[in-house]
Subunit: 400 residues, 2 copies
């Protein structure tokens, strides 16, 4: 199809889609000789293959025709109840009818875009924030308003009347944020939910990594704190990091009025999430399996993170700063202002090392071009050390 | 949450969503004492449970960590190749990179809404058309333009310059249409693709039931005919009716330029469709299993259809007309003009019989309130006969 002869029209949102230059560059990183810190993939060492195989087996054996038939849009009732119970253990008073099962929490972002965003609607995002959320919301043509962050996470005092005027929601990743690895501290969590309750500004709490805390103490989630403070909190969770991402299974927790709208949206979007997958995951988690599985995954990630922190201390110049995550998958690196990470990436790829430059994670604000995101979870120790040494040398060559 | 005190705003599209009165009525039909012709469920007798169980087993046994990891947005390469090959057997020259795997073809409708529809964009739909497509497109706030149909399907001559002005696409179900059960005949298929080529109007060919033909001769699809005529055709297919709907697996076939946009949209929508499901389905279908499985499913549906046609002939008044499908799951009934099928449904439910009234299947045109859709696939013969007898009596009471 020759675009120059095309007479029919795409939507404005589709015309605005551009193929990401970074994605093109990063395709190279799939080659095995490249040491890639670019991925956002969980470690396959943490996938409970045998347990999931047994769970799929049992469901197809005992309830095959139900698992293969159309199911309710809201999700498989026992799994909704399990999610509610799991959250009640953390102190949030949630009932099963406040839970909607989705096909990975990325889908929840799409559905929330549909629910909240008209073309031009202001939406508040952290600077920087999860790239996939920015892409998902972008399809609904919002006006991004950036919320500043520091090493304690999002700064609630920045939520001025002026900055929040007309905003449809604020999108926050409170634990081991993607891309920074930072955690919103308790005082700020409280200040955030109180301010949002005052503004009647819905909070979208995206928490894919919360169960992957390997140091420090767990903090109460925004859902529980927010409900206590009278704020509207929509919590997104996923089985991608605690079981496996290839299942595409996540959930939304929200007040019933919002769940009811989201169910209608979900029905128009893909009818429902695969029944078989929901039933097999319920089969796996309802045994309490995660209680023994998660400590192993946390230990694995902790070790991987330690390798990278050690290598950074050894090889990176003194002028460079980085975060020290207490969980999750990512470290955020800030270089001297004049070093551009996209230019650095080109040089790094020539030496078979890759990462994600920081600029695309910023929306509604001038990007910090001197930043990058490093993922440490799938790379073996010796390659972490070698890759970080290469990056350190390349940065050193660019210092003034 | 009390809506009267809500100060924050949903999007316009979400404010427009209303809970369907019919859906509320039809919830009653899930009770086992109700004879329901309302469902759109395939027969679980046609689900190959043992074969799918073996397929999931093999994939998790041999390729577990790949099946559970994030996968490419485009879909699992061998499955894309299988779809292309399957279509080449029907005469359409398709390559694997023109195939995108989706989470059920309902998701393809959502993605095509994103690709094509701006608020107010005209889109052409058959009158009547698939309710789920109308709901899906509605979220993007199009202006529906209805295309008249008769018992040979959509009428191509009705695609005047005036009716098609500015239209983003035409949405067509050529085989055993939902809701009418009617098939677009060959002459009209040719006329349709030629006219659309002339107008440069993309055709969305939704074909969930094409493999379920149990009488008459298969007709060439719009994809092959359209490509030969220079039309842009986007074909939607699904494994829901040939394997099982609870898997949520379908595909889109389109020119590369369109696939490329849809891949970006899919990534923002849900990253990708579950790897495990794609690999297991490939494992099941690549053996040629469908060649022996589908004839059994067709025989089952043929028999069910025959029961209902026989019962209709026996019990329905002479003033009533209905379609005689050559495949698929639905019969469309047209009663005398003055009989309102929503009123009839209330009376029928009092006698424990249910169906879907025809009005919601119409968009952009005055609905035909004297119509209804009957599904025959999941109801045992004796209950088909009893339910049709009840409906016949209730209609008879309303004749003038």
């Amino acid at each position: 199809m020759d675009m120059s002869t095309r007479r029919y029209a795409f939507s404005q949102r589709a015309e605005n889609l551009t193929s990401s230059a970074i994605r093109e560059i990063l395709k190279i990183t799939e080659r095995p000789e490249v040491i890639s810190f670019a991925g956002g993939l969980p470690s396959p060492k943490g996938f409970p293959v045998a347990e999931l195989k047994a769970a799929f087996d049992r469901v197809l054996q005992d309830q095959g025709t139900v698992a293969l038939q159309y199911g309710p849009t809201e999700g498989y009732a026992p799994l909704r109840e399990w999610v509610a119970e799991d959250l009640r253990r953390t102190g949030a008073d949630v009932s099963a009818d406040e839970v909607l099962i989705v096909s990975g929490s990325q889908q929840a972002l799409d559905m929330l875009g549909k629910l909240y965003i008209d073309a031009g609607s202001p939406v508040l995002v952290e600077a920087p924030s999860y790239l996939g959320a920015l892409q998902s919301f972008s399809l609904f043509e919002p006006r991004f308003v950036s919320t500043p962050t520091d090493d304690r996470g999002l700064i609630p005092e920045a939520l001025t009347d002026e900055r929040t005027a007309g905003a449809r929601f604020i999108y926050v990743l409170p634990n081991f944020q993607n891309p920074t690895g930072l955690t919103l501290d308790l005082a700020r969590r409280k200040a955030l939910v109180e301010r949002c309750a005052q503004l009647d500004l819905p909070i979208i709490e995206d928490d894919p990594y919360g169960e992957l805390r390997y140091s420090g103490e767990p903090l109460p989630g925004l859902l529980g704190l927010g409900r206590a403070a009278g704020a509207t909190v929509i919590r997104l969770g996923t089985f991608s990091k605690v079981l496996a991402p290839g299942l595409r299974l996540g959930y939304v927790v929200a007040p019933r009025e919002i769940i009811s709208k989201l169910v209608q949206i979900k029905q128009a979007t893909d009818l429902h999430t695969a029944s078989l997958t929901q039933m097999a995951v319920y089969e796996a988690v309802s045994t309490g399996f995660l209680d023994t599985h998660l400590p192993k995954v946390r230990e694995l990630y902790k070790q991987q993170c330690a390798y990278m922190l050690d290598a950074l201390a050894q090889h990176f110049p003194k002028s460079v700063q980085w975060t020290r995550p207490e969980g999750g998958m990512f470290i955020w690196v800030t270089m001297p202002d004049h070093i551009n990470s996209q230019e650095l990436l080109r040089a790094a790829i020539d030496e078979y090392v890759a990462f994600v430059p920081g600029a695309p994670f910023f929306a509604g604000v001038e990007p910090q071009h001197n930043t990058m995101r490093l993922s440490f979870v799938t790379v073996p120790e010796d390659r972490i050390r070698a890759g970080v040494a290469t990056l350190g040398r390349l940065i050193g060559q660019r210092e003034r």
